[in-house]
Symmetry: C2
Subunit: 344 residues, 2 copies
DNA sequence: TTTAGCACTCGAATTGTTTGAGTGCTAACA
DNA sequence: TGTTAGCACTCAAACAATTCGAGTGCTAAA
């Protein structure tokens, strides 16, 4: 177990390093007002902390730098309390004060405010619509061969696809078909839509409409394309401001991960337990993120976590501030969404 | 006017520099099989070319590098003919061979193939829908207070917004309203929609529906939000592979421009005359693009240019190849879109 | 247990040197 | 008159040598 003095020294080292990015030496530490011991004493303690794996040297005669284990301990036990300024709180609030017209805009804005307040890259994963149910289906014919199929969910989300109309079908059939759908499928969760269409509805259709099947198949096929939740990024270029990424070679894999979106998407998707999670350096499974920390928080509607927002930065990250900001944005976002969903 | 020999030398210098990225010296040139003169002769010619402003030295005793004027001349008069390989042509064709379900996917794929074939950053501007006309409007109530307003255009494009229903309005009114819209506004270009709604339709509404006006205003307001064409990027990270951008300081402003999207959007929007356009270095008005060239091409449906695709890279760019690829993709994209629109 | 002192280490910055690719100019040549 | 060989000169880049300073570990005294 670490002594109080060791804890103090560890904390000051990490705080200082996060601020400056420079290895911290014993003399620098001894000058801090929080610390009353000589540099020699500190050197002894630092040697112990190093042996325990909390800090490291960059070379034999250098100051110390936190190890991943050190950061982990810091995040778990030593986070200095942090309060947002009025201005920050105000900024966040103003984002969510406006009337929501589009969920996507809201998510984009959330990401934006996150990267603005932290100067890191931020990510927002759109809410998962798996749960949402069919409110209305609509087919708008464009001409003889094509039509737009539109699906509206109870959450106000709209999906649409262009479909081909089989030559044997006319406008009347189409209308009948849509009516049957809306009668039978109202309130069905989108995930079950395909199955229901194939079983229950097919029977009814068979009785009323000739040649319904090729059209039905086209529809099922197009509706079934699983719509992935969108990922919103902001402040990608902030990555370049970090001195640890001043070397192009080190940024490239990161920017690739970011550009790809898919990996990040999966990472955030996994995050379903409530609250803030911090992944430091090699705790991230993704290759190319060894020098990064990813801090995620979930947002929810009512009690159910729907999605996640996250900050991506170097392991030398302002954990305290980032976590505070993330918490605040997540809770404001949750509140806004809850209000929005409740009115549905 | 330049002599034939000067032209030859200029061309070889630029070709070589584009390939190698290194300043080209007289000895290197004299060894090329296309060139039969001694290095001393070449030095004389190069001195002339420099005086005329087509090439520059990086320092007093260095080889020569093309100036922007040199690139401009090269692009206008010296482009070596370039043919795509079968494989390349095949790759492009396969992108457009598939059935189009969503315009956005198609644009995204166009951008992707562009950056894949050129190793630069590519941009695709979605088709401008200004011309498109209202096919159908639909209002789907979600609950007492809110509804989704959906607009379908004759091109199969779907726009939707959440709107608030004034308390004084009931489901019947809503339905009547939509019916009136669809009767009166079918075929009206989206740009004129607002005006028509305010003038013609308002009168009819007044006669049939109580309290129509607050709802109408909400609708007009939400429909009127000008939907900007989307910009699709691909290969952003390719920027980092260029040796001229190996310094973070030089990439940052560029990545900022790219991340912002707005400036690029405007730039591409302006490009309406048909064909390929090349902007070299300072010909680009945007700050931060001094070291870049932007090559744009328009794609059209029938005879009307609808949008643009572009490649962004360093001024030392493989102009010949890029222009060839861009032309090919633009014409294949045009063909695909034309087919698609014709069937509407 | 703490601290002062000292020898030692190493990265970073500075300086000097060498090397090679390139130039311009001049004089000879075809 | 145009072309070329030769020569002196320039400069960036690579490399080695040197210095400087911030840091360490260890020891002995307080």
């Amino acid at each position: 177990m670490l002594t109080d003095r060791q804890l103090l020294i560890l904390q000051v080292i990490i705080d200082d390093f996060i601020r400056s990015g420079q290895p911290v030496g014993s003399r620098t530490l001894s000058k801090k007002h929080q610390i009353a011991f000589s540099s020699a004493t500190i050197r002894n303690e630092m040697a112990d902390l190093e042996e325990l794996g909390y800090i490291e040297k960059t070379h034999i005669s250098s100051g110390r730098v936190p190890s991943e284990k050190g950061y982990r301990y810091y995040v778990d036990h030593l986070l200095p309390p942090q309060r947002l300024t009025r201005a920050d709180i105000q900024k966040i609030r103003s984002v969510f004060a406006e009337r929501i017209y589009e969920l996507e805009k809201l998510m984009q804005k959330s990401a934006q405010i996150l990267s603005e307040l932290t100067n890191y890259t931020s990510i927002a994963l759109g809410p998962a619509f798996k749960e949402s149910k069919l409110k209305r289906m609509q087919i708008v014919p464009l001409n003889e061969q094509t039509a737009v199929a539109i699906v509206v969910t109870d959450t106000g989300h709209v999906e649409n696809r262009v479909v081909t109309i089989p030559p044997s079908m006319d406008a009347g059939d189409l209308e009948k078909m849509v009516n049957i759908f809306n009668e039978r499928l109202n309130g069905v969760p989108l995930i079950d839509l395909k199955e229901k269409m194939e079983t229950e509805v097919a029977d009814v259709l068979r009785r009323h409409i000739r040649n319904y099947d090729s059209m039905l198949n086209t529809l099922i096929e197009t509706i079934d394309v699983p719509e992935e939740e969108k990922v919103f990024f902001a402040g990608k270029a902030n990555m370049l401001n970090q001195p640890e990424f001043s070397d192009i070679q080190k940024v490239r894999p990161l920017l690739n991960i970011i550009e790809q979106e898919k990996d990040i998407y999966r990472l955030l998707r996994k995050q379903t337990q409530k609250g803030v999670r911090v992944s430091i350096g090699h705790e991230n499974e993704l290759r190319g993120m060894e020098n990064c920390s990813l801090i995620t928080a979930t947002y929810s509607v009512g009690d159910e976590p729907l999605g996640a927002i996250a900050i991506l930065g170097p392991t030398r990250m302002e954990y305290s501030r980032v976590i505070t900001v993330l918490n605040r944005v997540a809770s404001d976002l949750s509140a806004a969404l809850t209000k929005w969903y409740q009115s549905q």
